[in-house]
């Protein structure tokens, strides 16, 4: 499949300035050589801890911040070669949904203005803009009458729907979703994730889905890239990654997912210490300071991200030796049937249907 978006060796170093003449004395390596492809209708999830560079990667792809090095190719065009005006026109194809629905809407613009603005900027729906705004609102589960209102009159979930409507108004092909549900209540999260998936199916959208909640990622992603300290340490198809995590960091992440089965015994991998500072990353493999399997070679040589025949990529010298003896996530077969739990679940399903 030919990729809609191709990112190669993306790097962003933020200089650290000190002293009187603001000399750069070092750099925060927020993103340090990230490459991935994104196909039409695909969802690539970027997961990792806070500060691993996943949001920065999203902003770099949209050129909201300028990369230090690397290549971004969209639909065959080199995005970084475009000038200001060309880039503004190209933005129609690439939109973003933000994490905090309270910060992402201008408090002094009505919903109609917020959604109408991108239409006006790109010359869409001339002559029937108000009607189009109503259609878009309906599409995200709001009513056309809401167009006259201001953001402060909506709840968090509704505001996130407005944010989605604004992004979709220009009929983009790629949407960067920067933790779009982590600021919402769990009950609202499901609604918004379902909405995102429906819209994807309907319009053939491609998503870059930035998240740290692996349960959400498992639901929406087609492929997953695990980031650590500005690099992708493992990238694979969703099922391959959940079934057979190869990188020790991915294994630790998966072992931390809560499962709704209190009786199941599982091995937790608990990482010690903190993520090293991206201003002063360790030599060799970035993960070696917290890796339970680290060996001398890990400090000397940075493991490259190597892809096997199935497209499963991992950046670890020793992953072949680290296959866990038991599955990290219990498969559905491994979970014993629990009649009491099933009765409880059934009861909730009934009230749901009745309401």
């Amino acid at each position: 499949m030919s990729a809609l978006l191709r990112v190669e060796g993306l790097v962003k170093h933020f200089p650290i300035r000190k002293g009187m003449f603001a000399r750069a004395t070092g750099a925060v390596r927020a993103v340090d050589g990230v490459s991935f492809d994104l196909g039409v209708g695909e969802t690539l999830a970027l997961v990792g801890e806070s500060g691993c560079g996943k949001s920065t990667t999203g902003r770099l792809v949209l050129r909201l911040i300028e990369p230090t090095a690397g290549k971004i190719e969209f639909d065959g065009d080199d995005l970084l070669a475009l000038d200001d005006a060309q880039m503004r026109r190209r933005r129609r194809a690439m939109q973003v949904i933000f994490q905090d629905p309270f910060a992402s809407l201008n408090p002094r613009m009505t919903v109609a203005q917020a959604i109408g603005e991108p239409l006006a900027l790109h010359g869409l729906a001339e002559g029937h803009r108000a009607q189009r705004v109503g259609e878009i609102l309906t599409l995200v589960g709001l009513a056309p009458e809401h167009a006259r209102r201001y953001p402060h009159e909506f709840s968090g979930g509704q505001r996130q729907r407005i944010g989605i409507a604004r992004a979709l108004a220009v009929e983009p092909r790629i949407v960067v979703c920067d933790e779009p549900v982590s600021a919402l209540d769990v009950s609202i999260q499901a609604q918004v994730v379902n909405l995102l998936r429906d819209l994807q199916k309907r319009f053939g959208l491609s998503y870059i889905f930035i998240a740290h909640d692996l349960a959400v990622v498992k639901f929406i992603a087609t492929r997953i890239a695990v980031m650590y300290l500005g690099r992708i340490v493992e990238q694979a198809d969703k099922h391959a990654l959940f079934d057979e995590p190869r990188h020790p960091y991915t294994q630790a992440l998966l072992s931390s997912i809560p499962i709704p089965q209190p009786t199941v015994k599982r091995r937790r991998i608990v990482l010690e210490g903190d993520v090293p500072s991206p201003a002063n990353p360790p030599s060799g493999c970035g993960f070696r300071t917290r890796c339970p399997h680290a060996r001398p070679r890990c400090a000397e040589e940075t493991p490259p991200l190597q892809t096997d025949a199935d497209g499963h990529a991992v950046a670890c010298h020793f992953w072949r030796e680290l296959v866990p003896r038991e599955p990290i996530l219990p498969g559905t077969a491994a979970i014993a049937r629990n009649p009491r739990l099933e009765a409880l679940q059934a009861a909730f399903r009934h009230t749901d249907a009745g309401a």
Binding site: L62, S104, L105, R108, Y150, H152
Partner: protein
Amino acid sequence: MATLALDAMPKEVSPRRRALRRLGRRPAAMLGLAFVVFFVLIAIFAPWVAPYDPLATSWSAVRKAPSWAHWFGTDELGRDVLARVIWGTRASLLAGVVSVSISIALGVPIGLIAGYTGGWTDALISRVTDAMLATPFLILAIALAAFLGPSLTNAMIAIGISATPILIRLTRAQVLAVKVEDYVEAARALGNPHLRIAVRHILPNVIPPLIVQSTLAIAAAVIAEASLSFLGLGQQPPAPSWGSMLNTAKNYVEQAPWMAVWPGLSIFLLVLSFNLLGDGLRDALDPRHV
């Protein structure tokens, strides 16, 4: 569905209307507003309200104490003090409003450019602003007024320029705070050009503190105009202004205290009411009071 919850809500309210509603609940601010409106009406209708011609001298009524004929008394040339205070309102209000308008017209765009573009432009603008702020406001205004020559117009220009650095700094600080908001990044992602982001997305969100500052700056400008006139750099005699009235009155404080009391009281009241209004606006426009 999500639409149900909203149907019961009242008609949509804009942020501006909410702020005005909150302002209406503050008695001190409303008192300030009432006095400001009162002074504005006096200034507009001065020719009809004033009992005498403010320039008409009378040798038979020099420095007369307040009486039924002259409520506020008369001055050293026999002019009616009430009429002069009423006409002086024009000079004071004009000086306040015009000079602050000048400083807004200069300060807001410069502050917006400094805050939005950053880099060398910002460094240059900020250093010049710092240098101007290092000089006390009134000293700077006096120096500029003396340089431009004594007249009410020049006094207003001098006060306006002297009040500009504060507005530049305030605007710049607000822009720095707003430009990192998600909705500004969203505006960029949607394909807005820089000018439109600055004017449509950032400017409306930095205005509330500027309104407050402007109200307080009008109060300061009224005092500055009175000070300049007191020093002979503002309104020129015989045209009345509160400051120049005080200037003459200082020679007769013991014999004719009413000459000083009324213009002094007027300055005090006008400045106080602008300050009360400004404080009220600051509270009403604070986004944390939702």
